[in-house]
């Protein structure tokens, strides 16, 4: 069971920090390398890491859950990233509640 609203929250926050629209990211299901290439705010994978960190910090602030993302290869599609993000969120939420 996925916490209601969290998927769209992650999509919105990540798009905001990447400086791209949700459509640009998720309709084409682009890879992380393509995100860096399309984003006006990113030069390399450090900027990408920072966009994930800002998204995770926002989640922590609004949902009270701390998510740590593993290193993901640049050929990973954003749909997979979203899935990992949500799985980590639910896992951390469950651990925090235990």
């Amino acid at each position: 069971m996925v916490t209601p609203g969290v998927e769209s929250y992650i999509r919105q926050k990540f798009a905001e920090h990447a400086g791209l629209s949700e459509d640009q990211l998720f309709v084409d299901d682009v890879t992380l390398a393509a995100v860096i290439g399309r984003s006006p705010r990113m030069t390399n994978s450090i900027d990408l890491m920072e966009a994930f960190a800002r998204t995770a910090n926002a989640l922590r602030k609004d949902y009270g859950v701390r998510v740590r993302l593993p290193a993901l290869p640049l050929d990973t599609p954003v749909s997979t990233v979203l899935k990992v993000f949500i799985e980590e969120f639910e896992r951390q939420k469950k651990e925090a509640a235990a």
Binding site: A53, N57, A71
Partner: protein
């Protein structure tokens, strides 16, 4: 506060971080500083602003340290007994030679980027422009010293009949890393030097031939000196207030995180970069069980570098991540 806060370069134990040595001296003494042992200026921003050191002063300090540390590749090679080298020795030499090929494009790029950054800051913040110029000026010494490393290992590999490096590989390893924010660039280079120094330090422990061991020891000591310079320039940028500590932590996290750059060629999946070669991705120890990782030592040295650059104390990779996340904000 001293006039010149310096950091001496460790000559013997390359993997132990040196503590800054403070000096108190006036301008006249500084002009006669040839009497003092040459050292790296560790508080460059303060030196070039409040204490009024000029670029000529800074260059003099850089030059005399470089000159005091010069060594001969030919003399070092003459002391190696090629016949006594073990298969592991040969693998270590071969890997080191390939890795060192990537340093020339790094130094060439640093010179170009520092020059461009100097021009960019010249009107808005002359102190930052001067730091960039000091960095670009030092890159010539860095490049020359790395040339020693590259040629000593590759010549040794050649003399020992090791697998030749093709021109295609040579050219591929010369690809230039793409430009980035200057603080991130300097921190990445500091961590690259830490990684190399620790690896070479580990190699010394398994090498039997005295001449070869001396080469690895010398190169490791040089890499620590380079780390100290990168830390000094990075600290100066943070001290200027124009660069944010979060970027230093971001690069450290990139290396220290799970499956991060520090895992090098041991990672399950390496990026197909297409733009450049990271030497730590390319280590190949063949059938040997030996891997010169010493990850805890590298973690400790990276945390030490962060403390010197930003003034923020961290001790573990988890603390690096937590601090970086806090600095990034939301």
């Amino acid at each position: 506060m001293s006039i010149v806060e310096t950091e001496r370069v460790e000559a013997v134990e390359p993997v132990a971080p040196a503590e800054p040595v403070e000096r108190t001296e006036g301008a006249a003494a500084r002009r006669n500083s040839a009497a003092e042992a040459p050292a790296i200026i560790t508080d460059l921003f303060d030196a070039m602003t409040r204490r009024g050191m000029s670029l000529v002063d800074v260059t003099w300090e850089q030059h005399r340290l470089h000159e005091s540390r010069r060594w001969s590749v030919m003399e070092m090679l003459a002391d190696v007994d090629l016949e006594s080298l073990t298969p592991l020795d040969r693998t270590l030499v071969w890997n080191a030679g390939r890795a060192e090929l990537t340093t020339k494009p790094g130094a060439d790029r640093l010179e170009r980027q520092a020059e461009a950054e100097c021009r960019r800051w010249q009107e808005s913040n002359p102190a930052v422009a001067a730091i960039m110029q000091a960095c670009g000026t030092w890159s010539r010494y860095w490049n020359e010293e790395e040339a020693h490393h590259e040629t000593v290992f590759n010549r040794l590999a050649d003399l020992g009949g090791m697998d030749p490096i093709s021109d295609e590989t040579f050219i591929a390893f010369r690809q230039v890393f793409p430009d980035d924010d200057m603080l991130r660039t300097l921190v990445l280079l500091a961590i690259s030097e830490i990684t190399a120094a620790v690896n070479y330090g580990q190699c010394q422990h398994v090498i039997q031939d005295e001449g070869l061991r001396r080469i690895f020891k010398q190169v490791a000591a040089d890499e620590i000196q380079h780390r100290n310079y990168f830390v000094s320039f990075a600290k100066a940028l943070v001290d200027s207030g124009e660069y944010h500590a979060k970027d230093a932590f971001a690069v450290a996290h990139l290396f220290l995180r799970e499956d991060g750059e520090l895992q090098g060629s041991a990672r399950d999946q390496l990026e197909e970069r297409g733009t450049h070669v990271n030497w730590w991705d390319q280590l190949d120890t063949g059938d040997s069980d030996f891997r010169p990782e010493a990850l805890e030592k590298k973690e400790q040295l990276i945390c030490g570098a962060l403390r010197k650059i930003t003034g923020i104390e961290v001790h573990t990779r988890e603390e690096v991540e937590d601090t970086w996340m806090d600095l990034v904000g939301s």
